[in-house]
């Protein structure tokens, strides 16, 4: 027993052991480490290569693009700023004054639209170069629809987390029936939409009370939450065709408001789902003690609950902002000239008479994706703290 030898880590290990067996519990062997790092490095190259290719193509000129692939700037080809200059210099209105004027135009046109029944004001015409127009539109629509979406969504999520709803099945049936009748009347019989909607609303309030007494089976919070979240299954193409017609009837077709509302509705399920998860995990004692002290529901929401869920709120806002920035299908259908967002502008560059100028397109694509990449990096910080993933563990 006095001659027994113990095998401590890192002493007297054979070569095979050093290579293939982990030195301690919780660490990896050398071969395992090499394999893992190799796979991760390969995948990193696969991920970053298209982005790298787009960035360096934006610094190439016509020969560098068409003569075959050149990979490294300054070694294979000479980088130039031609593509960037042509994007920002072809229009005369490519300066900050035009951007300021565009933002003023948005405010002025919104006010003109609101007061138009009373006081007809002429809307201002945009005078700004295309890429600045698309960029400002993307930022304005993105931020406005994100704020709108997160506000409406977190209020609804808070209500679903703290208040018991019992919508009656009978009311829902009445509503669905009246909606179908309204649509049929407007489409096939030709009654104007505002008349049929008003009649249907009035009938709903009259009939709801009567039906509510017969069909007393009611649904709960879980059903409402499931209904809101399941809206995500709806393919946008089903919604966009009627919405186009609806907006055209109201005259809102090429405006920012149309896109803001539609983007907000498209992302509402995500906000409700994520924020509901955060609110349900808050301890209720804080809110109960505040209510005992006489705070209103909105006061509790604004002063107590929202500051407690600030990381979750920030993560949700970033996620929705990225989704709104990237939205393309709605913009293709609803935005024609004045409300072009960045994706529309990039797609429009595809149709040129002389063929596609890849280097110019890459410059615009870089402008389009750099903000989202920055937002993605910011969002990763939240995700690595485990903020958003509670919802998925569900």
């Amino acid at each position: 027993m006095s001659q027994s030898r113990f095998k401590f880590e890192k002493t007297n290990r054979s070569l095979m052991e050093r290579l293939f067996e982990p030195p301690t519990v919780g660490k990896m062997s050398l071969v395992a480490k090499v394999v893992v790092y190799a796979f991760l490095a390969i995948w990193s190259v696969f991920v970053l290569f298209p982005i790298y290719w787009v960035i360096i193509t934006s610094f190439k000129d016509a020969t560098a693009v068409n003569q075959g692939p050149f990979y490294i700037p300054f070694v294979d080809f000479q980088p130039t700023l031609d593509a960037w200059r042509s994007q920002f210099n072809t229009d005369p209105y490519c300066d900050l004054v035009s951007v300021a004027r565009q933002l003023y135009l948005l405010v002025y046109n919104s006010i003109a639209f609101v007061v138009s029944p009373v006081l007809p004001l002429d809307p201002m015409e945009p005078q700004i170069c295309k890429i600045y127009l698309a960029f400002t539109n993307s930022i304005v629509i993105g931020i406005a629809s994100t704020v709108f979406c997160v506000t409406v969504g977190s209020m609804a999520a808070y209500a679903l987390a703290r208040v018991q709803f019992k919508p009656k099945f009978g009311n829902i049936l009445v509503f669905v029936g009246l909606a179908v009748l309204t649509i049929l009347a407007t489409a096939f019989v030709g009654i104007p939409w505002w008349a049929s909607s008003t009649v249907a609303l009035a009938l709903f309030f009259l009939l709801a009370r009567a039906f509510g007494r017969h069909f007393t089976r009611s649904l709960g919070n879980g059903d409402i939450l499931f209904w809101i979240i399941s809206q995500r299954i709806l393919p946008p193409i089903v919604v966009v065709i009627p919405v186009y017609v609806m907006f055209q009837a109201v005259g809102l077709l090429d405006t920012h408001l149309a896109l803001i509302i539609l983007y907000a509705v498209a992302n509402l399920p995500i906000v409700v789902w994520l924020m509901h998860d955060f609110f349900v995990n808050l301890p209720i004692e804080l809110e109960e003690s505040a209510q005992l002290d006489g705070a209103t529901r909105f006061g509790i929401f604004w002063e107590i609950v929202l500051p407690l869920t600030r990381p979750g709120l920030a993560a949700t806002t970033l996620l929705v902002l990225v989704l709104n920035w990237n939205e393309y299908l709605f913009a293709v259908f609803l935005a024609t000239v004045k409300v072009q967002t960045m994706p529309i502008m990039v797609a429009a560059k595809n149709a040129g008479e002389k063929g596609v100028y890849w280097w110019e397109m890459c410059a615009v694509i870089v402008v389009m994706i750099i903000p989202v990449i920055i937002m993605a990096i910011m969002l990763t910080r939240f995700i690595s703290k485990g903020v958003l993933l509670g919802a998925v563990k569900g």
Partner: protein, 384 residues
């Protein structure tokens, strides 16, 4: 579960009665309704109402006239055109000469589905049986189309192209994403660096991804040209043959969506308690054994939820096929959404709405079936 704050009676405060309820107190008593009303109203007007309105489009012949829109009721003609009529080859694929392989496949799948239906007669309620009947009908229909078109050597249409993107795409993305998450959950340095890098493709605008991939996959000017020349493939045009175009489309879609699965599964893997794993390591289990026996059973609920969410999003694919191939050689890479967009551009709004509705039915039946039979089954299983 959610808890409630008990709303007080009007006029009663902890200090005693204070007479009639004020305006603010009335608001507060109905605060739940006021909080949820904007969201419900928005969804009703801009999601539910258009869905119903879309049915009207789908069953009529719509024309833009000087006074606006005219609808002429034509019944199910728009749908029949897609399923049986002139557009059948575009939508379903060529189903004409059916080979024995196709028939055999169809018979086998139908037998399995009917046997499953029979088995569930004993365990399910009558409402459940209706749901199972719908799922079974969809499965049999899809098996017939697959057997008659692809397995008989014919071409497939936009329906199966969409299903290819969803099923094969989600499968590949799930395998690679889980593998990456497993690699990243090992004790390595630089985990956050890899997490940031791997997350970026998910957030890049799909349109930008489409153009970037179109440039990268270009045969003559793209970066793979020397590689192709080395393999003697410099005359191969990936966009000329249907299946290679679909494959490239799936690869590019996977480039964008693998990060989603990676992030979710990585979070789940990091929540597996370390002492189980270390106990197994001390007992001498290899990493693969640990993954299969300890880690995987604990992350299966998250995995199927992530798969469901990814499948729901995958049905909506439209940007990538539009940009990279414009629908592919012929219409081989058109997804159903893209098919609907092209028909809209040809000013046939009724058919466009009909195709959109068929996509909605397909998505709802497939996702609801997956949710009911796989996800709920996993979530109901008691955790080890």
């Amino acid at each position: 579960m959610s808890q409630t704050i008990k709303d007080g009676q009007p006029g009663i405060t902890p200090a005693g009665f204070s007479g009639r309820e004020s305006w603010g107190e009335w608001f507060d008593r109905h605060s739940g309704t006021f909080f949820i009303a904007p969201a419900v109203t928005l969804i009703l007007i801009f999601a539910i109402l258009p869905t119903f309105y879309s049915i009207v489009f789908a069953v009529s012949r719509v024309k833009f006239t000087s006074e606006g829109l005219t609808f002429r009721f034509v019944g199910f003609k728009n749908f029949a055109k897609q399923l049986f009529g002139t557009d059948q080859v575009h939508f379903l694929g060529k189903t004409a000469p059916v080979s024995p392989v196709g028939v055999a496949f169809f018979v086998i799948v139908t037998a399995v589905v009917l046997w499953w239906l029979y088995r569930s007669l004993k365990v399910s309620t009558w409402v459940g049986m209706i749901g199972r009947g719908i799922s079974a009908a969809m499965a049999i229909f899809l098996a017939w189309i697959l057997g008659a078109s692809q397995l008989s050597g014919n071409s497939i249409g936009t329906l199966y192209t969409t299903l290819f993107y969803v099923l094969c795409g989600c499968g590949v993305q799930f395998l690679i994403g889980t593998g990456l998450a497993f690699l990243c959950s090992q004790p390595i340095r630089g985990k956050n660096f890899f997490r940031v890098i791997f997350f970026i493709p998910l957030m890049v605008t799909p349109l930008g991804v489409g153009y970037a991939m179109k440039m990268v996959a270009d045969i003559t000017k793209g970066p793979f040209e020397p590689v192709l020349r080395f393999f003697g493939l410099e005359n191969w045009v990936w966009s000329a043959s249907p299946w290679s175009a679909r494959l490239v489309m799936m690869v590019c879609d996977s480039w964008q969506w693998i990060p989603f699965i990676f992030i979710c599964i990585l979070a789940a893997l990091e929540n597996v308690p370390r002492d189980h794993i270390e106990a197994a390591e001390v007992d001498g289990a290899s990493r693969i054994q640990i993954f299969r026996e300890i880690i995987w059973p604990q992350i299966v609920p998250v995995a199927v939820t992530v798969l469901l969410i990814r499948a729901i999003e995958a049905f909506k694919i439209v940007d990538l096929p539009n940009i990279m191939t414009g629908g592919g050689p012929g219409s081989s890479t058109e997804s159903m959404t893209l098919h609907s967009v092209y028909v809209w551009r040809a000013n046939d709004i009724g058919t466009s709405a009909a195709i959109a509705y068929l996509l909605l039915i397909l998505t709802v039946v497939v996702c609801a079936s997956f949710f009911n039979y796989v996800v709920l089954g996993q979530l109901r299983r008691p955790q080890a």
